[in-house]
Symmetry: C2
Subunit: 247 residues, 2 copies
């Protein structure tokens, strides 16, 4: 595993499926998936309690820790990693630097996923690059996701199938309705008739799309009713950044 993030997560997990330290416990009843649909009320498709904190804004803003500072208590490993990834020593990670850090010798992270990550963990001052706060949040989130991915990749092939992805997303707090799962599958269906599988890159891409859109939906559904009322402007402004981030 030559990837920077890959090394980190592999070290942390000691190549063991059962010791991913920051990963949540496995869903005990993945067969309850989609139950919110039939019960109707107060059972949205996402968990109310169990959410990681990915956004830079959760750390109280850049100014609290100095212009280029890390959140208090950041692991020295994260700081060392930031310095290694920041090849041009600009104090920021750009998309090329992040792509290189995420890619391993045998698996390249797509620029599309990299852009999506930079968008979702965006720096409020310069949305095209990540500062220390954003990098730390991304690091913590990807460590958790790597652990979850490895738990479901039972044969250690580096790939999971669509049902395993559904269960993995459930483990991360997102109970994806089957219609949504079908759309996520079609994103990677090359129409060859082969079964769709996800490597870590595509798992992160699909999961981050689900996560990003779900967070936006929750902003409009503060009482967790499972539905939300949006104005036309809200609706358009919520969706367009996802399209823009893909350009």
């Amino acid at each position: 595993m030559a990837s920077f993030f890959g090394r980190f997560t592999s070290n942390s997990n000691s190549h063991s499926h059962s010791h991913a330290p920051s990963a949540p416990s496995a869903p005990s009843e993945p067969e309850t998936y989609g139950h919110g649909n039939s019960q109707g009320t107060a059972s949205p498709y996402y968990s109310q309690q169990h959410q990681p904190q990915p956004y830079g804004s959760n750390y109280g803003g850049v100014s609290s820790y100095g212009s280029y500072g890390f959140p208090p208590g950041t692991s020295p490993e994260v700081i060392r990693s930031f310095q290694m990834v920041d090849k041009d020593r600009s104090g920021f990670i750009d998309e090329k630097e992040l792509q290189e850090a995420l890619s391993s010798g045998y698996q390249r992270f797509s620029l599309r996923t990299v852009r999506l990550l930079i968008f979702l963990f965006r720096n409020p001052i310069d949305s095209s690059r990540m500062g220390p706060n954003e990098f730390t949040a991304l690091w913590n989130c990807l460590g958790q996701w790597r652990g979850t991915f490895e738990r479901y990749d039972r044969d250690r092939s580096g790939r999971i199938d669509a049902m395993e992805m559904r269960d993995a997303l459930y483990g991360l707090g997102y109970a994806v309705p089957s219609s949504v799962l079908q759309l996520l599958i079609s994103l990677y269906d090359d129409r060859s008739g082969r079964r769709v599988e996800y490597n870590f890159d595509s798992f992160v891409e699909c999961g981050m799309i689900v996560k990003g859109l779900t967070e936006k939906f929750k902003e409009k559904d503060r009482h967790y009713t499972g539905s939300a009322t949006l104005t036309y402007e809200d609706f358009m402004s919520t969706i367009l950044p996802f399209l823009v981030s893909y350009s």
Copy 2:
């Protein structure tokens, strides 16, 4: 204008701005843009009456006119065009064929826009290719949009600026809020500091994103109140196809 669609529209318009036959009349008061915002109710950002009919489903389904048939009354010019664009004579237009047909000698239509068009005008049986019905709907729509684009491209440079695009979209029935316009501008902002301009390709891409999302919103806002209530599943299923179509 070596493009196939370009030739069609140039011929129809006789290179005159004032005679675009299928284009709607110019908005008499483009400065009323965004008025729905301040008035609050019953003033959505899109026109209730004035909508072109882009979707293949408006033609009553493929089976009504035979598997490979055109809608009744289709101009012979459209049928000839379909046969010319359908290079492999499969009875369907695929993305490469459509891209070639839309591109002119000096301006290539992006595959991204082509995929968005195939998605928005999709064939209910095979969503990756266009049949005669879908092609006819696309042809009519692009003819109208070309006329609108040329009316706002006053210096005939082949480009319009962001304010002209806003007015052109208004002319097509979409009053885009300024926050949404800003997002559309950022889609083409290369951060060089240069003013963002749109050629016909990017005008079609932005306009089709607005059109496609607005149509989806209207399905949930049948009484034109300007807001809509969506379940989580609705919300996700509405947005994901737009992301998928960009892949």
